[in-house]
Structures are given as C-alpha cells and as structure tokens.
C-alpha cells in the first residue's frame, strides 16, 4: 500500500497553492514529505538543490529550520510560552527572522502578545501559529487544515492572515484542506484522490478570503 503514487509536482516561488482532498487522499503524506517530516520510499523530492529523498535526520531538521514554516490543524502552540515567546522560540533559531512583534502585528495580534495560549481563542491561537511560522521568513509555508478546528467566521480571519503573509512576504504557501470553498483564494488548486493528483487548475483571480464562507 502506498499513500502516494506517481505524484509529480512543482511549487513555484511566491504562489499560494490549495491542495484539496478527502481524508485518506494522501494530502497529509504529501505535506509531510514537502515539509521534511517524512521521506518517500521511492522517487525524488528536491528543494532547489537540496535532495530531500536521501536526507538524514539532521539534514531534514536543518531544512525545516531554515526554509519551512508550519501551521497545524491544532495550532501546536507551546502552552507554557506566551504568544510572543512562541514566536521567539522560532526566531531565536532562525537565520534572518523578522521581529516577533512584526510577525504578530501582521496577523493582527499586536495587542495580545503577552497572553498565554490558554488565554487566547482558537482563532487567535491559530494566528499566533501563523505568526510563528512566517516570522522566520520561510521559503515555504505549509498549512495542514489550518481552519479544521475553527468555525467559519474565525476560519476566515485565519485565512486572511495567511493571505496577507503570502502577499507581504512572498512565501510560497501551501494550504491543504478538504474544504472546497478555500480553493478560491489560491493561485493554483491541486486535487488529490487515492494518492494521486487527480486535477489541477489556476484561478484567474485570487479571491479575498474575507469574502469566503462555508
């Protein structure tokens, strides 16, 4: 059994890609491979000149540290650190980070910086997670069901934050979701089913996430 088979995909600098797929379609496995959390059993994954296929644990760690930003479905903030400190946790190991305050400002949380995760709503927590992911100025921002645990109104705010981050930092952004509505904010939409790419199209215009609803 292979979670993914015969997937051939290029991601280009600065674009915002939405990957659509039902659960079990292989989208998470693809994201894990792109993010350097997992290596494929066969095939080739390259980030610029770095071959992720043969990378060892230490190389994958360096790749994640220097090039990749992650946003998770359940935020995965460190509960013992404040919003600002959660961001600093990443900026202090990054090579050319933006200031933590700037990152939080970008997601509209300038006034909640010294709150602990337990004191923030789900949407706010996810926006802290986005600030944490973009603060290191990653080349690739990978978001796994970023609105999966949120209601529609809050989800829209989170997507708006991702959109802003993409436009202002020029980070290649990949959002995976089973939520078809989100596809409208993308430059490019890729559909996965049963471990293969079953469709791919470009939106002529990216729709403002604030206008989305589901």
């Amino acid at each position: 059994m292979h979670a993914l088979r015969g997937v051939n995909l290029d991601l280009f600098a600065g674009e915002l890609v939405v990957m659509l797929g039902a659960s079990g379609s292989g989208k998470s496995t693809l994201l894990n491979i792109l993010g350097g959390l997992d290596v494929p059993t066969s095939g080739e994954v390259k980030y610029q000149d770095i071959d992720l296929t043969k990378a060892r644990d230490r190389d994958l760690t360096r790749y994640r540290r220097n090039y990749v930003g992650f946003v998770f479905q359940f935020y995965n903030l460190i509960p013992s650190l404040t919003a600002r400190e959660n961001v600093i946790a990443v900026t202090e190991i990054a090579r050319n980070p933006m200031s933590p305050e700037a990152a939080l400002d970008l997601v509209g949380l300038a006034n909640r910086m010294d709150h602990f995760p337990a004191q923030l709503s789900g949407g706010e927590q996810q926006r802290v997670a986005i600030a944490r992911a973009i603060a290191k100025r990653p080349k690739v921002l990978l978001c796994d069901e970023p609105t999966g645990a949120l209601d529609s109104a809050t989800g829209v705010l989170v997507l708006a934050a991702l959109d802003t981050a993409n436009q202002e930092t020029g980070t290649t952004t990949v959002i995976i979701t089973h939520n078809v509505s989100i596809a409208q904010m993308a430059d490019r939409v890729i559909t996965l089913s049963d471990g293969t790419i079953s469709g791919e199209y470009r939106n002529s215009t990216r729709q403002d996430p604030r206008t989305l609803s589901w």
Binding site: L37, R64, V68, F72, L81, A94, R132
Partner: protein, 797 residues
C-alpha cells in the same frame, strides 16, 4: 448464571488491559518496583541477620551452657567452689584456671599473646562448653596439648598436629595443637584493653587443668569462676553473695553476662541491625509512595476517556477503583518479589561476612514467615496509599466529565524570570522554569526524592570517614608509642631505665593501669583507672578536637560519657573501689571531665595515683618507641623477659583494623550506593518519563519547527538538571541530619563515632545520584529520537 459469566468477562478484559499497561510502562513499573524492592531488601537483610544472629547466639549459648555470671580472682582453693555452688540460685558452675601466654608462632615475628583457659580432667566444663570445630580436645594426661580458637588458627593456618612456642608464667613450653575450637565466651575475640580484634596477634588456648595449674602455680586452686543462675533468681543478688564469698580471695568483683565483653559487643551490633531494619525501609517506602502517586495520577489523566467509556458501559466506581488499585498492587508485588529475593540473598551474604567477625560454630539462617507476610501486607498497603488519591479521583470521575479532555494547562510568567529579568532566557529555558513552577508540589517531591537518595548514600558512607578518624585519632594521635608492654605486676620506675638501655629502644614511658569500680551513690561503673606521668609524650588524653587535655595534679579526669552515667561533675567526690591487691576503697575528687571517641576512661596523675594507693613510684605498663630495624630483636627480648605479660604493636593493630574495615565498608558502601542509586533512578527516571509523556507534543512541535534532537532534549534534561541542582545540596543537608541522628543512636560505651562528613562522602553521594540521572537522561534522550513527529500534528492535546 448469566451474571456470573458477564462478571468474569469484565474481569478478564480489565486484566488484559492491566497486563498490557504494565508492559507498556515497563520502564516506570520497574523503576518503582526497584525502589520498593530496595526498601524490602534492606529491611529483610537487617531482619534476616537480626533473627539469624539472635537465634544462632541463643542456641549457641544454650547448647554450650554459657555463663550468666563471671568472676575473676587472684587465687582460691577448690573447696570454695562447693560453697559457691551452694549459694541460692546457682545451678551449675565451673572453676577454672586462667592465664596468659606469650606465643611464638612459626614464621611470624610479631609478638602474639593468648589467653589460657583450663579444661576439666574429663570431658567438657559444666559451664562455657567449647565447640570442637576440628580435631579433638586436649588429653588430661598430655600436658603439652592445647585447643586453639578458630580465629587465631585461621589467621595462621594452624591445624591439629602443628606446634606453638609459649611462655607461660616465665617458662617456655612447646604446645601441640590437637583441636580447633570455638567458645560462646569468645564470639567476638578482642585482646584485653583493646578496642578492635587482632586475630593475628591474639588468641585463646584451652589446656588441661592439671597442665595449666602447674604452669601457673595454681595447683588445687582456681582463679576464674563462671556460673549459671536459676532464671527465677535475680542475677544481681547472686553477684552480691558471690562477691562476699570471693572477697578474701582477691576477687575483682563478679559481673553479669550483660557486662561480658563479647556478649555486649554482639548485643550492640544486634541493636544497630534493628535500627537499620526500620530507618532505611521507611525512606524507601516514602519515596515509592510518592512515585506511585505521580505515575498513577499521570496514567489516569491520560485514561479519562477510557474511564468514561467503561462507566458508560456500566462499570461501577468500585470496579474502576479496584482496577487501578490492582495496577498499583501489581507494581508493589513485583517490587516485593524482587526485594524479598534480593534481601534474602544479601542477608545470607552479609551473614557470611559477619561470620568473619563473630565466631559461631555455624550461622542458623532464620527468618520468620510471619515477618515476610507482614512485610508483604505493609508493602501492599503503602503502595495502595501512594496511589490512593489518584485511584479515588478516577473512581469518582463522573462519566460526562471524564469524556471531556482535562482543562488546558495554564501557565504564568514565573517569579524567577521576573527576578532574573537581566538574564536573556531562551524560550526552551522559559519552558523548563514554567513547567517546574506549574507543578511546584511535584517538583518539590522530586527534589525531595533526589535529596533522599543523596542522603541515603551519605549515611551509608560517612561512617567510613568517621570511624577512620576515630581510629586514626586513637592510634596515631593519642597512642604514639610503637609498642605497649604490659607487666604482670607493678615494678619500680627504675626498672624502666634498664629497658630503655636495651638495643633498639629509643624512648620509654611508664604508666599504671588499675582495675577499679567507680561508685556514686547507687550508680557504679567498672573501668580502668590509668595513671599518666607528668609530661607524657607517648600516650595522653585528647578531647574530640584532638587537643591534649592536661591531667590535673590531683583527682580524677573522667570521659564525659562516664561522668554522665555516674551523674558526676567536676568538683564532686567519687568512691573508687580498687579491684586489685589490697582492694582499698578511696574517696577521690573529680577534677575534670573530657570528651573522647573511644572507650570510657578515668585518668589520674601517675604520682598522685601511687600516693593515693600508698605505693612507691611504680608502673605496670611500659610504652616504647623503637628503632624499626631492631624491632624484632626487641620483641624477642621482651618475650623472654619474665614479668612481661603481653606486647601490643600499634602499627600491626592499625593495619589489621584498616584491612578489615576497608573490606567491610567497601561491601557496605557498595550495597548502600546501589540502593541510593536505585532510589535516585526511580525518582529521576519517572520524573523524566512523565515529563516526556506530558510534553511529548510540545517537543514534537518544536522538532517540526526545526529544533534539533539535542535542542529538544535540552528542555527535558534541563529540567532534570535543575531538580538535581536543588536536590543534591538538600540531600547533603538531610544526610547531615540523618548522620547526626545515627551518630547519636550509635553512641555506646565502646565508641562514640564523631560526625565527620568528608568531601569524599559528599562527592560520592552526589556522584551516585548524577550517574543515575545520566542513565535516565540517556534513556530519555534515546527515546526522543523516536518521537512521532507526524502523529503529533494530527492530534488534539
């Protein structure tokens, strides 16, 4: 019928769950079980030895008719024995001839001496029978035959048929060994006036009465009486009657079994075993309780949903409670099983070690099954109490609440961070500090656990430094002579000049030691009164700070231990009953009180003492410094000198002591260090593992965000480091407290161990704990490699 089937099904499924969970957390299960096992093992080890030694001694005493009362006298005709036998309460007795001999052991140049005890013409004595280990008893018709005590025979590898040279009462004889024996009177064999055994240089020989009596000029007489008393008669009454009967014959006063040296020493040891059986296991069990509490609390908090489901299915509170109780009890049972096996095994091993000190025919290995049962029940109870809070919480969780995840952890900026705001904390460091601050009680208990481990290792080891210092003080500081020569009778001091002129002798100093009984109204104490010359250079009195204490020109100087026992202070008058010669009774003033480590002493200026005893300038002990190259010549000359009763070589005594001490303490140190290590490991491993379980998600998140394996490990191990930094010094403090408690409890007449905590002891304690931490840390570090990074992204906390 159907009800029955359902309930068995319940049980077996829950049992399967239990078994799997125990296996899943096998590391933690084992760590806790080992702590429990440590406690059980020490407890059993002490109990086994206590029971075994007590039983062995009882049986030995009984089978060999060990005496209840002992009396030494100058010389009494044998018909007095009949009068003694007629005293009310006396059931059986033996009149014996005792003497001393200087021995010449082939191939051994150091001076050796022996106590000689007579054997009746036929068979064994009625009281204080001897145990024949090898060979046969001396034959009355063969005056050169002797039986030798096992300790001396072993030290020199003597066998029946071997010969010994002996100088008895100034006459040289060749003795043939026919038997190797043991005696209930000499279970602990120690030279007279010494504090420590010296198997190479001191032995006990049994000779036919006729032979010994003629050698000692004691034909038709006896100078030692041992007797048994009917249990319904008070021993003190018999002693009084006996003293009255024997007073005309130069008796030094009869004394009871409790004052018999070998018996008293063994009793002290047995009391120490009892203390050990209580103190150490208590600490171990307390730590085990804490660990069970933490581990079970954690387990139950991760199983809230399972508890909810079980309850939804109709399991009652009681069943849930019993299920988790079984988990706790299972861990306790594993610990109990390991501990019992280890305790019995170690008990046996220690018993063998004891047999090197205590001369028993054989060690009866005894432990009452009731003890084992009681210990088992106690273990289960303690373990269950440890888990009680968590179990109770699980059982009383309403199903609906159990379905919901626990409320998110709330954290705060800690006081430490505010106070140390000038330090730039890295975010992982903040995580460490806040995690500790969020569960201060648990952190405090972990610190206490680490401290207890440190303290246990310290208590196990400080005695080594303390005893070393005590002995060093006694032999290197206080006794600076190379050789102590004891004389049979007092001689005029001028005799010393002759000794000083002998080749190889560099310096001599004379002193006088007199057996006395000190009496203050109803309190009394038998001891030696030592007359020390003005400006003594070789042996003097020092206090516990090793300062020389001047001997007052008149009156007595007493060890504080003795002064307290007698209720005396400086300025008081004490009655001194001299137990020798004319047995005068003197009233002397206590001129001063001093502290001492070893023994219980009374001292006096030599000249003042001789004046008080109305004697001339006499001495009965000569201390010497020797030219090392000529020491053997001096030994040989003195051995052949009449009126020289015994020679004690300081260095030889010291060497043999340290050899024995080192061996015993190394074993003991090793055992205690392992036990301390087990506690430390139990505490640290569980702390770290629980931390890992609770924070696995955070750590995995950080790994995904680009933190390396080591950077993430730093967060867990940093927490551990803080616990260690707090726990070890606290452990030193607790250890110091426990050690001073032990020192107080171990104060006996024989010695008062000074409280010396050396740097080595502190370092050893810290090292044991640090090594345990490194092992736990390494296991955790290794486990972190396998942290599932992908799973963590998909799960809600």
């Amino acid at each position: 019928m159907s009800f029955f089937r359902t309930s068995t099904l319940h049980l077996s499924t829950l049992h399967t769950k239990l078994r799997r969970e125990l296996w899943q957390m096998r590391g933690q299960t084992l760590a806790i079980a080992l702590v429990i096992a440590g406690g059980i093992a020490v407890c059993l080890l002490s109990l086994v030895n206590y029971s075994s030694l007590t039983a062995t001694r009882e049986q030995y005493y009984q089978e060999h008719q060990f005496a209840d009362v002992f009396a030494d006298l100058k010389r009494a005709p044998r018909h007095v024995l009949q009068r003694a036998a007629d005293l009310p309460g006396v059931t059986r007795l033996s009149g014996r001839v005792e003497g001393v001999a200087k021995l010449e052991v082939p191939g051994f140049s150091d001076p050796a001496s022996a106590r000689l005890v007579s054997l009746p013409p036929v068979g064994q004595p009625d009281v204080n029978r001897i145990f024949l280990r090898n060979g046969r008893l001396p034959h009355a018709a063969h005056s050169d035959e002797v039986a030798v005590i096992g300790s001396f025979a072993d030290a020199h590898d003597l066998r029946p048929g071997d010969q010994l040279g002996a100088i008895i009462n100034g006459r040289r004889q060749t003795l043939t060994i026919v038997g190797i024996v043991e005696s209930p009177e000499f279970i602990y064999v120690i030279p007279p006036g010494a504090m420590l055994p010296d198997y190479d240089r001191y032995g006990v020989l049994w000779m036919p009465e006729e032979a010994l009596a003629s050698a000692m000029d004691m034909r038709g007489a006896f100078n030692s009486l041992v007797l048994q008393v009917d249990p319904s008669f008070p021993v003190a009454g018999v002693i009084d009657l006996l003293d009255r009967l024997l007073a005309p014959y130069g008796s030094t006063g009869a004394y009871a079994r409790e004052d018999q040296f070998s018996h008293r020493f063994l009793s002290d040891e047995l009391n120490q075993l009892k203390t050990m059986a209580l103190v150490f296991p208590t600490i171990f069990m307390a730590v085990a309780m804490f660990l069970l509490n933490v581990v079970i609390t954690r387990l139950i908090s991760t199983q809230r949903d399972i508890i909810a489901v079980l309850k939804a299915f109709g399991y009652g509170n009681w069943q849930i409670g019993w299920h988790y109780s079984q988990l706790v009890l299972a861990i306790a049972l594993i610990g109990y099983a390991i501990g019992t096996a280890a305790g019995l095994w170690l008990g046996r091993a220690l018993g063998v070690l004891y047999m090197e000190f205590y001369r028993f025919p054989e060690l009866l290995f005894r432990i009452s099954p009731w003890w084992l049962l009681l210990l088992g029940l106690l273990t289960l109870l303690v373990a269950w109490l440890g888990g009680w809070r968590a179990i109770h919480h699980a059982a009383s969780l309403p199903p609906a609440e159990a379905m919901r995840p626990e409320a998110p952890a709330s954290y705060q900026v800690t006081l430490a961070e505010r106070l140390l705001s000038w330090i730039r904390f890295s975010q992982p460091s903040r995580m460490i500090v806040r995690q500790l601050a969020r569960r201060p009680a648990r952190a405090a208990l972990s610190v206490t656990g680490i401290a207890m481990a440190t303290a246990i290792v310290m208590v196990g080891n400080f005695q080594f430094s303390s005893v070393s210092l005590m002995v060093y003080t006694q032999f290197a500081k206080v006794q600076q002579q190379d050789l102590t020569v004891s004389l049979t009778d007092p001689v005029h001091q001028s005799a010393m000049y002759g000794m000083a002129r002998q080749p190889g002798v560099r310096y001599v100093e004379g002193r006088r030691v007199v057996a006395v009984e000190l009496v203050n109204s109803h309190r009394q104490w038998r001891t030696a009164l030592t007359g020390i010359p003005d400006q003594a250079r070789l042996q003097f009195v020092v206090d516990e700070h090793l300062n020389q204490v001047p001997i007052p020109p008149a009156g007595l100087l007493l060890t504080d231990f003795l002064a307290t026992r007698l209720g005396l202070a400086a300025g008081d008058t004490v009655q001194v009953k001299v137990l020798e010669a004319e047995r005068p009774v003197l009233d002397l003033q206590v001129a001063g009180v001093t502290s001492e480590f070893l023994g219980v002493g009374a001292y006096m200026n030599l000249a003042a003492m001789n004046r008080a005893l109305k004697d001339g300038a006499v001495v009965n002990q000569v201390l010497m410094n020797l030219d090392p190259d000529q020491a053997e010549t001096v030994y040989r000359d003195l051995r052949d000198t009449p009126r020289v009763m015994a020679l004690n070589v300081r260095q030889a005594m010291l060497d043999s002591f340290f050899e024995t001490l080192a061996k015993t303490f190394l074993t003991f140190t090793w055992v205690i260090s392992v036990l301390g290590g087990i506690i430390a490991f139990g505490v640290i491993y569980n702390t770290v593992r629980i931390s890992l379980a609770e924070r696995g998600r955070d750590l995995a998140s950080l790994r995904v965000l680009g933190y390396s394996h080591n950077e993430v490990a730093h967060i867990l191990l940093g927490e551990l480091a803080i616990l260690l930094i707090l726990g070890i010094p606290l452990g030193w403090a607790i250890g110091h407290g426990l050690a001073s408690l032990v020192v107080t409890m171990m104060q006996t007449e024989l010695y008062r161990v000074p409280l010396i905590i050396s740097g080595r002891t502190l370092a050893l304690a810290a090292n044991v704990v640090i090594v345990s931490a490194l092992v736990s840390g390494f296991i955790t570090w290794w486990r972190l490699r396998n942290l599932d990074l992908v799973a963590v992204l998909k799960t809600r906390e």
